[in-house]
Each structure stands twice: as C-alpha cells, then as structure tokens.
Amino acid sequence: MSNVPTIDRASRWKAIRTEVGRAVGALAIALAVAFVVVLLTSKSPFEALNVLLTQIPARPRTIGLWLDDVAKLTITGLAFSLVFQARQFSMGVQGQVYVGGLAATWVALSPLGTTWAAIPLGMAAAMLAGAIWGFIPGIAKAKLGANEIVSSLMLNYIAIELCNYLVRAVLPKPQAGVLTTNDFPDTAVIPQLIKFDGLNITRLDYGFVFAIVAVIVVWFALYRTSWGLKLRLVGHNPRFAEYSGIKSTFIMVSAMTAAGALGGLLGSMFVQGQGYGKLTVLFEGNLAFEGILVAIVARSRPLAVPVVALFYGYLRQGAQLMNIRTDVPAEVIGVVTAIIILLVSSSFSINFIKRLFRRHAAPAATATVPAGSAAK
C-alpha cells in the first residue's frame, strides 16, 4: 500500500483548507457586521476601519503590544484546547490566571523576589497554583461526577474576589486606597525581549518565548506521547477508552490540571511581565475567555493556536488603537469575537447556508429513535 502516505496527506490538506476557509469566512462575516455597526455609529467610519486593520504594523510599539497579546492569547488558547480535546468543559482558565498571578506575586514580593530565582520560581509557583485550581473541578468531576462547568465557573469568581481582597487589604501597597501592590523588584520582572539601540519595544517580553515553548510542549504531549493519545481517545469516546483499559478519570483530571498549569503560567506572564510588574485588581481583563475563540477556531490543535492568536491579537490591538484615535470604542471587538465563536462552533460552511434555508429542519438534537437498528 505505498500510496497510503499520499492519501493521508491529501486528506489532511483538504481538512486544513476547509478549516481555514471556515475561519476566514467567519472572520469576514464578523468584520462585516462590525463594519455596519461602525458605519452607523461613528462620524468617521472608514478612518476607524483603517486604523483597526492597518495601523498596527506602523510602529514598533504597537507591534510589541500586538505580539504580547499574541503570546497571552496563545497560552489561554492552549489551555482551552487541552480541555476541549478531552471533551471537558472546564471554563476555569480565568480563575487559574488570577491564582497564578497571586502565587507569582507572593514570590516576587518575598525575599526571594530580589534574587535571580524570582522569575523561574514565580512562574513555577504560578503554574502550581493554576494546576491546583484546575485540579479541583477535575477531581470533582472524575470522582463524583460533579458538573465541571459549574464548579470551574464558581472557582473563577472565588479567585477574583480573593485577589480583590488580598490586593485591597493584605498585600503591601505603595499608598492607601489604590488597588494595586508595590512594584515588583526588577529581578522579578520578565525582561524585555527586544531592546537594542534603535529598537526598543517595551511591552514585549520573554513571555513570548514561553508561549512558543508551550505550543511545542503541548503539541508534543498530545500527538507524540501515549498520555496525549489516551487524552484524545477519552475525548472521542470515554466508554471506549475505559473498555481499552485507559484510566479515564486519571486522564480527565490530568488534562484539567495541565490546562490549569498553563492558566497559572499566564497569570505569571501578566503580573511579572513588562506590562504590569505588579499585581492589580482585575488585571486579566477577561482575556482568558477569548481563549475559547482561539481554541475553537484552531479546532483545539496546538499548532494552529498561535496562528489564530496572531490574527485575533491583531484585531484586538487594532480595536484598542481605534479606540484611542477615533471615536469608536474598543468594545466593538466583543461583537466580532462573539460572532466568530457562534459561526465557527456551528461548523459554519457553505452547506451551513444551505441548511439555513432548507425548510425542513432536522429533528431535534435528541437520541434519534432507532426503529429496528442496532441500538439496544
């Protein structure tokens, strides 16, 4: 069967083409809707659109902001990809980011913060905290069958309130009344990535490198290790996995824990990164949930995540620029994000449009009644 490899590759390219087509199609529609909104509400819609789409590469500073966002979006996209591959709906990345940030802060503001170990230890502590935060819904689901959507959502808000409380009342702050901690010592802040004479991009730091490393690690884990294969099999069919002797509970828990570690890492990237260098309330700004978009457009494939993050991060920063320079608020990106998620998760395609207009809608999403079929 010597033609087998080419058939594989051919089918894979076809799949990629379909996926990219789908993503681009969804993006086009979302942007079109956004454009209509902008057209109706802005005094200079075309200028706004121009800023949104073209002004990012104009200056090193904006490029830095963009790539910094890409790094962060990649991490949260990877986290969601891991849990989605295991078919779990743990939505707790946001909470993991906050507890990760707290753990990193604790290291940074401690005596260890002034040593060389501040960054690696801070990251490790953050990943550990995030892993624990991911572990809790995982073990509750695995051992008790407790709904991981609810438990992870609750943990998000617990983490946020915990962070709010600690910043307001416990952690050292520069003056009373502000909702931020002291600045971290320089040794605890991740250094800038690009800082030469003539090219000083301030916001971009080594977090970008961590993101690339994370992509490779997650890809390798999912596709080259038996843990990854087990995880994907559990995601495809948990009963089959059990029948094959795969310990579904362990896999589910470890997937959510690993994703939690990624979330925690993101928290460290935030607070120890060039953008902050301290802990502030609500520092994450709902970025974690945008990982959902990245993950589903990338079909939970680790190698596709950074590509999607690149494009989406561009739009995101574009919206910020548009907000500063024109009269269109950045929040219009929320419309774009939502539409993309809705379309892509509907397995949007040309067939979809046909289905939309077919008069006879398919029977409800129920167990189709199998008259005389193989079902028990």
Binding site: M1, V4, I7, D8, S11, R12, Y223, R224, T225, S226, W227, G228, L229, K230, R232, L233, G235, H236, N237, R239, F240, A241, E242, Y243, S244, G245, I246, K247, H360, P363, A367, V369, P370, A371, G372, S373, A374, A375, K376
Partner: protein, 514 residues
C-alpha cells in the same frame, strides 16, 4: 379496499445510501401484517416514512384510498397511525398515565386534569387486555409492562393502525405469548397491526400476511399460510442460508478461565448475577443463551473487568483476576468484542490506526517511555487492514467514515490480531450485513480452532446454535441449563429454560458444565 398502501416509495439519504427503492406495501384492514428482512433491508426506513419521521423522495401513500403525506409524527398520529419503537420513548420519572397522555392531555382550563387522565388510561388498559397500573413511575416497571405503556400511548390517540418495531426483541417467549394475546385482542376490536420482525417462527405464528424486503426493495408479499421458515429465509436472503459453521475438532481439556459464585449488582440495586459458576476451555466456544437482561452481558463485563462485582472469584489463565484492572487482564490474554461497537468498541473520531492500537498502549512495541512509535503503529494498522480485508482509504482515516460491517471488522481485527487466550464476544453481528457476518463467524471459529477460549453472548439463537460447542442458559442471573451442542438441540428446548419454565438438575448440567 386496502386500508394503507405504499406505492413505489423511494428514499435516498444524503450521502447516497438508497434505503428504499420502489417499495410497495398493501395493508388490509384488520390483519396482522409482518414486514421481514434482514438489517439494512429498508424496513425501518419504510416504517419511519409511514409514521412521518422521514419524508419519501418518491412514491405515494394512500390511506383509505386517499393520498396522504405526513410531514411529521403528529400528522401520522392524527391520521390514526401509531408506532411502538424498539427503544421505548418513555420519560423514566413520569408515571404511566403521564407518559401515555403526554402531548394530548385532558385539560381543565390550563390545568392538566390528572384524574381524568388516570381514568382514561385505566379504561384503555382494561379494554385491550394490557394490564398495567397507571400510577407508578415508568422506570420501576419491567420491560414487558413498559412495552404495554407504549402500546397504550398509540391506543390513547385512537390509532387504527399499530406499527410494532421488533416488539419481541426484548421479551422472553412467555411475554411474547402475552403480547400475541394482546395483538389478537386488538385485531378483534378492529385495529390493524404491522409487525416488523427478524424472528421467523414468531412471524409465522402471529401474522396473516408477510411482505419480504431485501436491499431496499420489496421482494414479494405472501399469505402466511402459504410459506415455511426455510422458504421465507430464502426470499429474504436470496440463497439457502446454511445455519451451521464447520468446526475443527480441538483439544478442550485446558481450562482458560473460570468464574465461581459470581454476584453482580446493578445501578438499581437488583442482583443481576446471582451466584454463578462457569468454566471455559481452550479451543471451545461457550454460548451464553438467554433473553437480554438475564445476566449474560454483566457476566462478560465482570470477566473483562469493566464492572465491579459484589462477590465471587474470577480466574483467568490460572491466575486470580478478581482485583485486576482491565489492562492487566488484557495482559493475561483477554480480548473482548463489545455489544455496541460505536458506543464502546471504537472512537469514531480517531483514525483506524489509533483505534487498532488503543488497547495496547502499554506494549513496548508501540509505546516506549511514554512516547508513541508512530511508524510501528502505522505498520501494524496496514498489516491488519490487509489481513481482515477492511475497506478503508488508509490507516489515517477516521473510523467514523466506515460502514457498519467494516467498523466491526476493525474491532475484530484489534481483538483477534494477537491470538488471545480468552475472547469475550457480545452480539458480534448485530447490525452487520450478511457478508460481514459470515466473515466474522469464520474469524471467531478460526480463533477457536487455533486454541482461543471463547465466551459468546448473543440474542440470536441461530447464531449461538451455529457457533457454540456448549451452551449455557441464563435466567435471572443464574445458569439454569447446560447443553452440549448437537443437531438435536432446538430453539424451543432452549426457550423453555430461558424463561425459567424448567431448570435442569445439577446432575443433568454436569456434563455440559465441565
């Protein structure tokens, strides 16, 4: 004039599958009409069309001589057609009367009139001899009674025509007789019954006329009094069906697995396996006979390690297996073909190669130090695809793209690729076309001939009689009879024990229990 007529019905599903092609059906009022054909013949599609669950691409339906078209079940129900599916549509926590009246409830203003509902259901139950108490929640009822609730649903809506889809699949022969009494009562009171079936003896007993379908077409329509089982089977398959598989003589002295005093309790707290002993030896096929739900499936699951046991011991390859995990038991040489390949036997979204290696992830040929050897995995897949004639584009294709028979071949290939010591098989050819069925029967027999010990559970008595060396009859979680297979052993004899109508004495069972 015919009550219901289907003329030239055609249905092609998106994807190209032609389920019905020029199908004709004529139902006379007041008759019991059986529609027979093997899996994939198109019976279920035709019934779905009659009931409005599917729309035909071609042809017409005539009811009382007038052309009708059902856009959905609601319209079919209003026209007087009721359908009882194999898989019941009953809300478990609702009471019997709530299930019966749901959708057409008696009302007092906006309020649901419960008293009236109970009374009406009780009245129907009495009138048609379908004894069931309206008050308890449906999940607490045994299967035979749940089926009665389903029939009452149709009668409540004044169905004139009742379509029963393989109603006897989950009933014991005694319950089947009760059902037949009810059907005769329905017919006597003016109803018409369409009866879809696989089991030819029953078809010959209850029906007045039979329509045979094969590969989406109608082969013919006959009066029951004019045919025999063999000629019916020939019409269904197109050739004489050989009902025994040739087996080589083997040395069956070496015991491969044994079970002592096995007790299994299900999720509802009922004991489904109540102190069972059995042995299986190398080179033999032991058939587990019984109506579904008498403990056969649970016994196999317990041996495989998929179900925890409440008591007893299991031994595999002379080692105590009672505490071992599934993977460890597979390491002892256990393989198993599950009842529902899509739900339990395969990951349809994963590739054929991944499926073929899924049970061997602790085998150092494919996994070392936690890392996958992709080349070895792919080579293994290619080898098995050839050996088992699996029709697929390549090892990288998703299993979900395969046909039912080929999917089952993937399962069989995976389980039989390394000669297992003990093979557990549950419903191996359910939903599989005849060609693949023959192949799978051959494969299992070949494994047995080469020394594998096989435990086979099947709802199909003819399959059990064709393949087994010994037969153990299950009833209520115990073995009540044991036979060495011979041409004299008939389904009727087995049937008597399957319902607990008699039990063999320990002495009688001794020989066949080994």
């Amino acid at each position: 004039m015919a009550l219901l007529e289907a003329i030239g019905i055609g249905k092609t599903y998106p994807g190209g599958v032609v389920a019905n092609d020029g199908v004709n059906l004529v139902i006379q009022p007041g008759e019991v009409h059986a529609v027979v054909g093997e899996n994939g013949a198109g019976k279920s599609t035709l019934m779905k069309i009659l009931f409005g669950l599917e729309q035909p691409n071609a042809g017409t339906l005539l009811l009382d001589g007038k052309s009708v078209h059902f856009a959905g079940p609601r319209e079919a129900i209003e026209a007087g057609i009721g359908m009882v599916f194999q898989h019941f549509s009953l809300v478990p926590s609702f009471t019997v009367y709530e299930n019966v009246v749901m959708g057409s409830e008696p009302r007092a203003g906006i309020r649901l009139d419960r008293r009236k509902a109970i009374a009406e259901v009780q009245a129907l139950s009495d009138r048609f001899r379908l004894k069931v108490d309206p008050l308890p929640p449906v999940r607490s009822l045994p299967v035979g009674q749940q089926q009665r609730v389903e029939i009452l649903k149709s009668l409540y809506r004044n169905a004139r025509i009742l379509i029963l889809d393989e109603p006897t699949a989950v009933l014991a022969p005694q319950e089947v007789q009760e059902l037949f009494v009810a059907i005769r009562s329905l017919v006597a009171q003016g109803k018409t019954v369409i009866f879809i079936a696989h089991k030819l003896p029953e078809v010959l007993e209850i029906s007045d006329r039979i329509t045979v379908m094969r590969q989406g077409k109608t082969v013919g329509s006959v009066k029951t009094s004019d045919v025999t089982e063999q000629s019916l089977a020939a019409m269904m398959v197109g050739r004489e069906v050989s009902l025994r598989v040739d087996r080589k003589p083997t040395d069956q002295s070496q015991r491969v697995a044994s079970v002592k005093g096995l007790r299994v309790v299900n999720a509802r707290g009922t004991e489904v396996v109540a102190g069972l002993d059995l042995n299986v030896h190398a080179g033999e096929i032991v058939g587990l006979v019984g109506v579904e739900g008498n403990g056969q499936a649970e016994t196999l699951e317990a041996i495989a390690g998929l179900r925890s046991i409440a008591g007893g011991e299991i031994e595999i390859a002379s080692q105590s297996a009672t505490g071992l995990s599934v993977l460890e038991r597979r390491g002892l040489g256990l393989a198993s073909i599950p009842e529902d390949r899509i739900a339990e036997g395969l990951a349809t979204g994963a590739s054929v190669a991944e499926n073929l290696v899924a049970t061997r992830l602790n085998d150092t040929r494919y996994v070392r130090n936690g890392l996958l050897d992709l080349k070895a995995i792919k080579a293994n897949a290619q080898k098995l695809i050839e050996r088992f004639s699996i029709r697929v584009g390549g090892p990288g294709y998703a299993v979900g793209t395969l046909s039912g028979g080929n999917m089952q071949k993937v399962v069989v290939a995976r389980e039989l690729s390394e000669q297992p010591k003990l093979l557990l098989v549950n419903q191996p050819t359910r939903g599989v076309d005849l060609g693949a069925t023959q192949f799978i029967w051959r494969t299992i027999t070949d494994a047995r001939d080469a020394g594998t010990a096989v435990l086979l559970s099947s709802a199909d008595l003819s399959e059990l009689l064709a393949l087994s060396d010994r037969l153990l009859v299950f009833y209520r979680g115990k073995i009540v009879a044991a036979f060495v297979n011979s041409p004299d052993l008939t389904p009727e004899t087995l049937g008597t024990y399957m319902l607990g109508l008699s039990t063999q004495t320990p002495a009688e069972m001794q020989v066949a229990l080994k």
